[in-house]
């Protein structure tokens, strides 16, 4: 007896079996030979057989789903056509990152932001782009383990049934559940089920980078913990006190998208747009700021207080330097001018007292309810709130824990240094770990259960603004893994249930009678409409006590999540490991940020190893001299120093958790810094970040930006003009909008099958990224001007590379593309020698031949995988151009403006990149290039690039 398979439904295969049957009766040809097995499975099966021959094990819980390859190609169903599914990945903090997944022959090959979702609007950050690679990680956990040895699910289930029986006898006393932060409604339903059945069971949360202090602050100010949602699209003046609004994190896409909306309106002359940032360590928000103040972490409170004092909210603090005074004065003036259109935001990592001050100030300037929305917290709150993890460890130490199930958390690595988790764990009778990897915690637990990746699982999750996404699989699980919900179900001693059924059960409750249609609609759309967290009209903020201002005589240290690895959860993702950190372009390592003065005083150079001692603990870390760092502050980045034998992330960098205390998780005072000596070379993709050359990064005043563009000088060339035919492709990159977030680089990795080469080769200057984001630092190292500049191929009209190639492997297309013909390339590298922009990348070794089958399955089938010894470079995503051209030809029409979007453009949260036909004056890219801000890189080379830049707008118009 065949059961209908539980797979996602797209538009073409409706969920109702009756419709399927009717369709089969109507179109017998299309269904011929398919028999009892659904067409979708066949696609899935074919994908699986193509990609994973020898690897797929059918999951035991779905025995009726056969995996068969196509023998005959079904009519009208070409296997090379992509299919798209709206879903989400549960990203940082459990928040949904809505995506539109592309699959070819059943293999997911690309994720894009979900255009209709209010938190994405089509954009996706680097973490979300890279989630795709996580699916194909060959070092993922593939089978259950008992005491480190492979076991089977039967044994695991038997153990779970036994455990449940034991727990039943004492109402769940001694059962503890530890997870990462969760937003999933199905998870909430299952937890309440567990607690209902076993009232003495308890759920705990460990989220190393959390919002506990923000929730505490809102609780102080408004009487209950609330979610703070900035509306940067409405804020003409933003004052950030150590709040990295545009930096990496679950809110980045939404914030950046909104910020750019305001910025684009400002560029068009609507209203003002100014950003004031006071922060101890440089951030993406700091780079985007008009006025950035480097200030010691302990003094953020004082600066905030001075700002509040201008609005009569607090007594003025005693000591403020002239520079601080000036910054506070300018910020206060801007805020009071723009009341109701201004925002004050204090970082979630700041102490609650400073944050309440900020909330009071926001209230005073009319931000609350306009530019700052308050809502019920989206993340599920564990019973003990912020003290959740501490309570668990205390119970474990007291011997009160019988069974501990750890799901998607890694306390053995990421717990505070003084928590004593590992010692307490020995007193727990039964330890079970469920997660994607055999990580540090898995090694300490008796049992390990591998779980499904978000792209092969059923679940649900909420985005930062509350909208619920349904997570549906794009592909069948590769290995013998289970959904998280199924693991929670077996914990209760129940038979294994399908993930789909568990999620559907949650929504059957909510949707009620209209379940079928609402469920189908939500799956198609990828999210449940009207589930955003409703705004709460908050009562007046409590007037806070003046922020405690603790002057520190020694050095201070702040902790930050790593910009690409976060709290360590992405350590196994090679795209994110090789993604250059935005501000120092270091890959595969975390660094200890030290300001130039402090480094000089300690005789430190970038790459040296320094010892950091605080509170009786020490770490040794590689130093990076960081311009713009506050003078006596160190920044340690979490997420590295992993101990993951045989995994990608093993052993890189240092472990900052080793000195991170439970009491003050974000800052340390009285830190002692000493030099140890030279260290191994750090792999940075940009050794020279100082900009001493004019014209590369440009800035103009607002008035200049709106002036008409001067006519271009006549281009002179010895060579005859290249014949042009059809649309002329070009790209415009707005450096005024670019925040350096790296989403484009990761999108390019995924779209164009970019090889990952590893730390050693990056250190030798052999990274393969087609698109890089240059970071420049200019002026006084203590208070520098910084700039980001994404650099893809310039597609020069007079391209020096084309002249250099002896075999014509790089040639000019009639549409202005500078083409690279891989199979004609013999590898003389002349093209790269002649390229002034150095955007070409060479295959020094065979980077792809030894890829495991999983990695091959990820590749975009429309992009050639390059072989050893050939040159490659950005193609403007020529496969997308071809696709659109073919489609337009089939439909006998011209390619519409905006129809083709390059991968970098599509994912960019700030819409900094625009691609299109430059020969059409009405196209978006032509309108951009017609602006006075438009300029070419290295115009003196007379290469006439098709990629041009828009200068940044600065009120004083100077430099970068």
């Amino acid at each position: 007896m065949h059961r209908r398979p539980s797979f996602p439904k797209d538009l073409a295969s409706p969920s109702d079996p009756a419709i399927f049957e009717a369709a089969a009766a109507e179109f017998p040809a299309a269904f011929a030979g398919v028999g009892e097995t659904g067409r979708r499975q066949l696609l899935q099966a074919m994908g699986a057989s193509l990609a994973l021959a020898g690897l797929t094990g059918c999951t035991s819980d779905e025995p009726d789903e056969q995996a068969l390859p196509y023998v005959r190609q079904p009519e009208y169903r070409a296997a090379d056509r992509p299919r798209h599914y709206a879903t989400a990945v549960a990203g940082i903090g459990g928040y949904a990152q809505p995506v539109l997944g592309t699959t070819y022959a059943g293999r997911p090959t690309k994720l894009e932001g979900l255009p209709e979702h209010p938190a994405s609007l089509g954009a996706a950050d680097a973490f979300t782009q890279a989630a795709l690679l996580g699916l194909y990680d060959p070092t993922r956990s593939q089978v259950p383990r008992r005491l480190g040895q492979p076991a089977d699910w039967g044994a695991f289930d038997a153990m779970m049934v036994e455990t449940a029986r034991r727990l039943d006898a004492r109402q769940g006393e001694g059962l503890r559940l530890l997870t990462g932060q969760q937003t999933s409604p199905t998870f909430a339903r299952q937890i309440s089920q567990i607690v209902e059945r076993w009232p003495k069971a308890r759920w705990h949360v460990l989220e190393p980078v959390n919002e506990d202090q923000r929730l505490a602050a809102t609780a102080l100010a408004f009487g209950r913990p609330l979610q703070v949602l900035p509306r940067l699209d409405l804020a003409e003046v933003v004052v950030s006190l150590d709040d990295d609004l545009l930096g990496p994190g679950p809110q980045q896409t939404r914030n950046a998208r909104m910020w750019s909306q305001r910025r684009i309106a400002y560029q068009a002359g609507q209203g003002d747009h100014r950003l004031f940032v006071a922060e101890p360590t440089p951030s993406l928000t700091g780079v985007a700021a008009d006025d950035r103040l480097a200030v010691a972490p302990g003094r953020i409170g004082a600066v905030g207080q001075a700002l509040a004092a201008r609005f009569g909210l607090a007594p003025a603090p005693a000591t403020l330097s002239a520079r601080e005074q000036a910054w506070v004065g300018a910020a206060a003036a801007a805020l009071s001018q723009a009341q109701g259109r201004a925002l004050v935001s204090v970082g979630a990592l700041q102490p609650p007292a400073v944050q309440t001050l900020g909330l009071a100030l926001a209230h005073r300037i009319g931000a609350v309810g306009t530019t700052l929305r308050l809502a019920e917290p989206v993340a599920l709150a564990p019973p003990d709130g912020g003290a959740s993890f501490g309570a668990l460890v205390a119970a474990m130490a007291a011997g009160a824990v019988d069974t501990l199930l750890i799901l998607d958390a890694n306390p053995a690595y990421a717990a505070p240094a003084d928590s004593g988790f590992a010692e307490s764990l020995r007193r727990v009778r039964q330890t079970i770990h469920a997660g994607l990897h055999v990580d540090e915690t898995a090694h300490l637990c008796a049992w390990h259960a591998p779980v499904e990746h978000d792209l092969e699982t059923w679940s649900d999750a909420r985005a930062v603004e509350g909208t619920v996404s349904l997570i549906q699989p794009l592909v069948r699980p590769f290995y013998a893994v289970r959904s998280r919900h199924a693991v929670l179900e077996t914990l209760q001693g129940r038979p294994v249930a399908s993930g789909r059924g568990l999620v559907a059960a949650t929504w059957r409750e909510r949707f009620g009678a209209a379940f079928e249609s609402l469920w189908a609609g939500a799956l198609r759309r990828g999210f449940v409409e009207d589930t955003a967290a409703p705004e709460i009209a908050a009562a007046a903020a409590a007037i806070p006590a003046p922020a405690p201002h603790a002057p520190s005589s020694g050095l201070e240290l702040v902790f930050r999540p790593d910009p690409t690895i976060w709290d360590g959860r992405f350590a196994s993702n090679a795209w994110l490991q090789e993604l250059p950190k935005p501000l120092n372009k270091v890959t595969w390592d975390n660094i200890l940020a030290v300001g130039p003065d402090l480094a000089l005083a300690h005789g430190l150079e970038s790459g040296d190893i320094a010892r950091v001692a605080a509170g009786g603990r020490t770490i040794e870390a590689a130093v990076w001299i960081t311009p713009g760092q506050s003078r006596r502050t160190l920044t340690a980045f979490l997420g590295y120093g992993r101990r993951l034998p045989d995994q990608v992330g093993d052993g890189h960098g240092y472990d900052a958790y080793e000195i991170r205390p439970q009491a003050t998780p974000w800052a340390l005072t009285d830190v002692v810094l000493s030099k140890v000596g030279g260290g191994p070379r750090l792999a940075t993709t940009q050794p020279h970040q100082a900009l001493d050359q004019p014209g590369i990064v440009r800035a103009v005043t607002p008035a200049q930006a709106r002036a008409p563009k001067p006519p271009p000088a006549d281009a002179v060339s010895f060579y005859p003009p290249v014949p042009k035919d059809g649309p002329q492709w070009g790209l415009s990159i707005d450096t005024d909008l670019c925040i350096g977030c790296n989403a484009c680089v990761t999108a390019c990795d995924a779209e164009n099958n970019i090889a990952i080469v590893g730390k050693d080769l990056v250190a030798e200057g052999r990274q393969m990224h087609w698109l890089r984001v240059d970071h420049y630092v200019e002026g006084d190292p203590a208070a520098p001007r910084e700039a980001f500049q994404p650099v893809p191929c310039m597609h020069c009209e007079d391209a020096p590379c084309e002249v250099g190639c002896p075999v014509g492997a790089t040639v000019h297309g009639p549409d202005g593309l500078n083409l690279q013909v891989y199979n004609r390339c013999i590898g003389t590298r002349t093209c790269s020698s002649y390229c002034p922009y150095k955007v070409r990348r060479f295959n020094w070794f065979d980077y792809t031949g030894s890829d495991p089958p999983e990695r091959r399955a990820q590749r975009n089938p429309n992009v050639t995988v390059r072989t050893r010894g050939v040159m490659e470079k950005c193609t403007y995503c020529i496969q997308r151009i071809s696709d659109a051209r073919i489609q337009a030809k089939l439909e006998n029409r011209a390619i519409a403006d905006g129809e083709i979007r390059t991968a970098c453009q599509q994912t960019c949260p700030t819409q900094a990149i625009v691609f299109g036909d430059v020969s059409d004056p009405s196209s978006a890219v032509s309108r951009r290039k017609a602006q006075a801000r438009d300029y070419s890189l290295l115009p003196e080379e007379n290469t006439r690039p098709r990629t041009t830049y828009l200068a940044r707008i600065r009120t004083n118009g100077e430099g970068g």
Binding site: Q686, P687, H688, Q689, A690, L691, D692, Q693, I696, Y719, L761, E764, G765, R766, R772, D774, H775, Y776, Q789, V791, P800, E802, V803, G804, C805, P806, V807, G808, R824, C825, I826, G827, T828, R829, T830, S832, S833, Y834, C835, P836, Y837, K838, R840, R841, F842, N843, W844, F845, D846, R868, G869, V870, M871, L937, L938, E940, E941, N942, T943
Partner: protein, 440 residues
């Protein structure tokens, strides 16, 4: 007395291939060369097996000592043709004592040079795509590329040098054949002597062919290194893109070539006792040529600096600054020091005629020119274009081993030449000695 001495030595030239006078020394030297040649083969093997990544090259410095050695070797391969062909046409009889081994040096140096661009390819097995051949795909080389010009220039130079050398050696091969006692030697030299009987018609045709080939070879001396310079100068790269490059390269090439000919002349003269054939006068003339071409090369250095300063281009000035003070300034100052400081000794006649001094000065020049080629290739590439993509370069073990190996290839070929072929043009020396030949 000296005349009789010279006559004996001329006789000796054609006897050496049949009964080598110092077999032990030769065997030892050959063994060293062969080991180095083995290193060459191993280095190429590793390179082909694993890919160009075994070298220290990167983006932006994707040409390293492979290309700088290529230019260096080709430069050395210049003096042979210059001495033989140009001086032949100018009627400078003193060249007869030097031309044969200078030509051999040219040939072997061009072989060493020519292999470099092939092995440095990402996919060396497709090197034939650079040749215009009737491909079924209808693809053709890209004629705007300096590398295509390079391909033709080097190939032409190799063919003409080989022809010129072979035509020149023909009468001497016949002499060796005639003196050979063993059957094997008779057959071997007989085959290569192409039936030369020394008839008057042979001599007349030989002379015509020799002079004709010389006339073809002379322009190549200028063209080939001019062309090599375009490999750099045709690219839009500060520090490379300069019209001074062709003459600068040609003169530099002649300079290094004369230096290496001087070294070989001194070595062979001592080793095999040719003091009467390769006299102090020859050393003096070689030293003068080295000095003269050296001074012209110095002008090239000056012109390069002047051009950068006079242009006022920030990029050109930055490259100049980088060369003089940057991370590879050692190569600039090394080149300046090696090329021009010891050279000044050659103003004095007693140093010019002193073989030890001449050898030492020439060795300095050869290494100085190596530094120069390295400096030119690396300094510009490492600081080209956007500051974000500036980089650095340090050659890896396999690059050094390939360089040492290419010296081994050169020495092996040269050792075989010294052992088995007449190393000095006996027929021309004889002709020079006989009064009637003076009018030829």
């Amino acid at each position: 007395m000296a005349r009789r001495e010279k006559g004996r030595e001329i006789e000796k030239i054609t006897e050496i291939p049949l009964a080598y006078p110092r077999p032990r020394t030769w065997a030892a030297m050959f063994a060293v060369s062969a080991v180095l040649l083995g290193l060459y083969l191993v280095s190429v093997g590793v390179l082909f097996w694993r890919g160009v990544g075994v070298w220290g090259e990167d983006i932006p410095v994707n040409w390293g000592i492979a290309i700088s050695n290529y230019i260096w070797w080709l430069g050395i391969g210049h003096a042979g043709t210059l001495i033989s062909a140009m001086l032949l046409l100018l009627g400078q009889d003193w060249r007869n004592s030097l031309n044969r081994f200078a030509e051999a040096m040219t040939l072997f140096a061009v072989v060493c040079a020519g292999l470099y661009p092939i092995v440095h390819l990402g996919r060396p097995w497709f090197v034939y795509w650079m040749a215009p051949y009737p491909s079924t795909m209808g693809v053709w080389p890209q004629f705007r590329s300096p590398l295509t010009w390079d391909f033709f220039a080097v190939l032409t130079y190799l063919i003409v040098s080989a022809l010129f050398w072979y035509i020149g050696i023909l009468p001497d091969l016949a002499s060796v054949r005639d003196r050979a006692k063993t059957r094997r030697a008779q057959v071997f030299y007989g085959l290569f002597a192409l039936g030369w009987r020394g008839a008057a018609t042979h001599w007349a045709r030989w002379r015509r062919a020799y002079r004709l080939t010389a006339a073809i070879a002379v322009p190549l001396v200028v063209s080939v290194h001019s062309e090599i310079s375009l490999l750099l100068a045709a690219g839009p790269i500060p520090g490379w893109s300069s019209t001074v490059f062709p003459p600068y390269f040609v003169l530099g090439a002649a300079f290094s070539g004369f230096a290496v000919v001087s070294m070989i002349a001194v070595a062979l003269r001592h080793w095999l006792g040719f003091e009467a054939v390769v006299t102090e006068r020859h050393l003096d003339l070689l030293a003068k040529m080295t000095l003269a071409t050296g001074l012209m090369t110095a002008y090239g250095y000056f012109a390069e600096v002047f051009n950068a300063l006079y242009s006022g281009e920030p990029a050109e000035l930055a490259i100049l600054h980088n060369r003089l003070t940057g991370p590879i300034a050692w190569s600039y100052w090394g080149a300046l020091l090696g090329n021009f400081a010891p050279l000044q000794l050659l103003w004095l006649g007693r140093f010019r005629r002193n073989p030890y001094v001449l050898f030492a000065v020439s060795a300095c020049v050869a290494s100085g020119m190596w530094f120069e080629r390295y400096m030119l290739v690396v300094s510009s590439l490492s600081r080209h274009g956007l500051p974000s993509s500036w980089g650095s370069y340090s050659p890896s073990f396999w690059e050094w081993s390939l360089y040492a190996g290419s010296l081994g290839l050169f020495l092996t070929l040269f050792m075989l030449f010294v052992r088995f072929l007449p190393i000095i043009s006996a027929s021309e020396l004889k002709g020079e000695a006989s009064p009637e030949a003076a009018h030829a």
